[in-house]
């Protein structure tokens, strides 16, 4: 009813600035927010920045971490650090791609559902509900088992069960926004169609999607590594981090660096993504 946000007599909040943003996010989370783009750059540049050729045997097999090979070498004498850097690419980029795809499809569906309302909304909501109730991981595994493991298949299988989340988020946000006075005010002011959507609705939906997506990066990476462990992840020679870990899990007690170091990087990537998600949420909720 009565909302007294900014008192009339006090100076209102100053304009948005990044320092405030990071202070609200927290220093730990800010590392995450900085880390995500850095990791993405590393992932994109991976083939050009590995210290050794990740495909070739460059030293003896099973060398423990040393000054020359920071992460040691693997079972056939390839430099593990180079493999792991390449692994960041094979883990991170598909994760982002799945998120990106799900985000696009999901938010589109959610937008349609939220904007059209009524019957369309009802039907779409039922479909989304349905996808949300299906045991996603299992069916994704079944899809991969049927289509065969492979980067594209894994990504398709994951995306199929990921988009409904974003559909749900964007639909709820759109409906929430639509009921807000400022959107109504814009409509009264004569704003219609795509302009209303692009300028008045979408910017309000994006933060929620952004938060959801950044927290989901970790989920995707975990699910992909789980699929690798079950033999349904990326194919054998691809240095996907989950696959690297699960394939060398049996040497845990003998050559610990083989499973542990890629796993540590998975851990680190998820940590960054989670922190970034937390940070963005804290920063945006404060605003």
């Amino acid at each position: 009813m009565t909302s007294r946000r900014t008192p009339d007599t006090l100076p209102a909040r100053p304009r948005f600035n990044w320092r405030d943003f990071f202070r609200r996010a927290g220093w730990l989370e800010s590392i995450g927010i900085f880390g995500v783009p850095v990791v993405t750059v590393v992932a994109v540049l991976a083939p050009w920045i590995t210290p050794f050729d990740p495909q070739l045997r460059v030293a003896g097999a099973y060398l423990p971490p040393s000054a020359e090979h920071w992460f040691g070498t693997d079972e056939i004498g390839r430099d593990l650090l180079s493999r792991v850097i390449l692994g960041v690419r094979y883990t991170w980029l598909p994760g982002l791609a799945v998120i990106g795809f799900s985000l696009t499809v999901g938010s589109l569906v959610g937008l349609i559902s939220g904007l059209m309302g009524d019957k369309v909304d009802l039907v779409i909501e039922r479909i989304v509900d349905l996808f949300l109730v299906l045991p996603g991981t299992l069916i994704a595994l079944a899809v991969v088992a049927s289509l065969g493991p492979g980067l594209v298949n894994t990504m398709i299988a994951l995306a199929i069960f990921w988009w409904p989340w974003y559909a749900r988020i964007s639909r709820d946000e759109i409906r929430r926004l639509k009921a807000r006075p400022h959107v109504e005010a814009a409509r009264i002011a004569g704003v219609r169609g795509p302009r209303l959507l692009l300028r008045y609705l979408l910017p309000g939906v994006v933060p929620a999607l952004l938060i959801g997506a950044s927290l989901d990066v970790a989920n995707i990476i975990m699910t992909m590594s789980l699929m690798s462990f079950l033999g349904l992840g990326l194919p054998a020679p691809a240095p996907e981090l989950g696959a690297m870990t699960s394939r060398t899990l049996d040497s845990l007690t003998v050559h610990w660096w083989l499973p542990i170091l890629p796993a540590a990087i998975i851990f680190f990537l998820c940590l960054l993504a989670n922190l970034a998600g937390d940070g963005i949420r804290a920063a945006l909720r404060g605003a």
């Binding site: 349905l130 299906l134 299992l138 970790a218 989920n219």
Partner: protein, 329 residues
């Protein structure tokens, strides 16, 4: 409430129909030939052809789907390629172990969530704990499962590291060993079953506990700055009492939703954990079904997991409406 249950049931039937359709589609696109899989790799072509006919694979897809639905209606999930038994029988056999482990890990997860949220809430500014929580939540489940075995069984020998029960000749009426031990009057069996459950349940409970705990913590922070909490404090109630009787209940909705989401992920994690711990449940069954292209088995499990998840969802919604009487079911 009745209306809600009826609605949930109708919803469940629709979900099952759709799932059966997906399942059926998967069956049709799979490159592996079920007839070949059943007949065995070295069988001569005539034999495979005969098997194909026997399976009705020559009929049009619609007829096949109709037949599939009809069988489904009779709880007939087909015959496993690997075990040569009805999938329904297999599932019946493996389900109790999975349910027992699943329930234990959900319970443990909720307990962990409570402890973590309480710790974080009562001792603010513990960045370290939070970092550790996010970290543990970021460890691949197979690694955390194996590390748990490695330390708590192999190194320290505190807990059994694999299997479900040390007692050989034990078989109880319900299939839940912990319950059966008490029912049959052999508490030592229940103790042993519990001990065997700790490590796998812990591996499964960690992600649940962390996610739900984080959500609970966030919700509590929101709730505890609400005006009615101020009212409660204004009554001179102790902080603990305010937290328990005003905070928790109002903060329950979001973590309950998160719990539902985590249960969905639990189904995937069960496959891994049951494999690492050699836990004779549906997860293990499914992993082996994957390995031998046993699609009827995989799909049967998917349908059972689907039903379980609908059940869990319904329970969570009921729980939410109990926590918040404004939610009208």
């Amino acid at each position: 409430m009745l209306a809600y249950l009826i609605k949930s049931f109708v919803g469940a039937v629709v979900v099952l129909l759709v799932m059966s359709f997906i399942v059926f589609c998967l069956q049709s696109i799979i490159p592996a030939d079920p007839a070949r899989a059943i007949a065995g790799p070295s069988a001569p072509p005539e034999k495979v052809e005969a098997m194909r006919e026997q399976l009705g694979l020559d009929d049009p897809a619609v007829v096949q789907y109709g037949r599939f639905l009809l069988r489904l209606a009779h709880a007939d999930l087909g015959t496993s390629v690997r075990t040569r038994r009805p999938v329904a029988d297999d599932i019946q056999q493996y389900l109790p172990a999975t349910l027992e482990l699943g329930l234990a890990s959900i319970a443990l997860g909720v307990a962990l969530a409570g402890v973590m949220a309480a710790l974080q809430f009562l001792i603010p500014g513990l960045g370290g704990i939070r970092l550790a929580m996010v970290g543990v939540g970021s460890t691949p489940i197979f690694l955390s499962a194996l590390l748990l075995t490695y330390f708590f069984w192999f190194r320290l020998d505190w807990l059994p590291g694999a299997g479900r029960l040390a007692y050989r000749d034990f078989a109880g009426p319900t299939g839940f060993n912990v319950v059966d031990g008490i029912l049959v009057g052999r508490p030592e069996v229940s103790v042993d079953a519990l001990l065997h459950m700790i490590l796998p349940a812990l591996a499964l409970a960690l992600p649940i506990g962390i996610a739900v705990g984080r959500s609970l913590n966030g919700a509590l922070h929101d709730v505890m700055s609400q005006a009615y909490v101020r009212t409660a404090r204004g009554k001179g109630l102790s902080e603990t009492k305010v937290l328990l009787s005003h905070g928790l209940r109002n903060a329950a909705t979001a973590p309950l939703s998160m719990l539902g989401l985590q249960v969905r992920l639990l189904f995937g994690n069960l496959l891994v954990v049951e494999r690492v711990f050699g836990w004779p449940g549906l997860g293990l069954y499914t992993v082996q079904a994957f390995a031998s292209a046993d699609l009827p088995a995989v799909l049967g499990v998917a349908i059972v997991f689907g039903i379980l998840y609908i059940l869990v969802n319904t329970l969570i919604e009921i729980g939410q409406s109990m926590a918040d009487p404004r939610i009208n079911l």
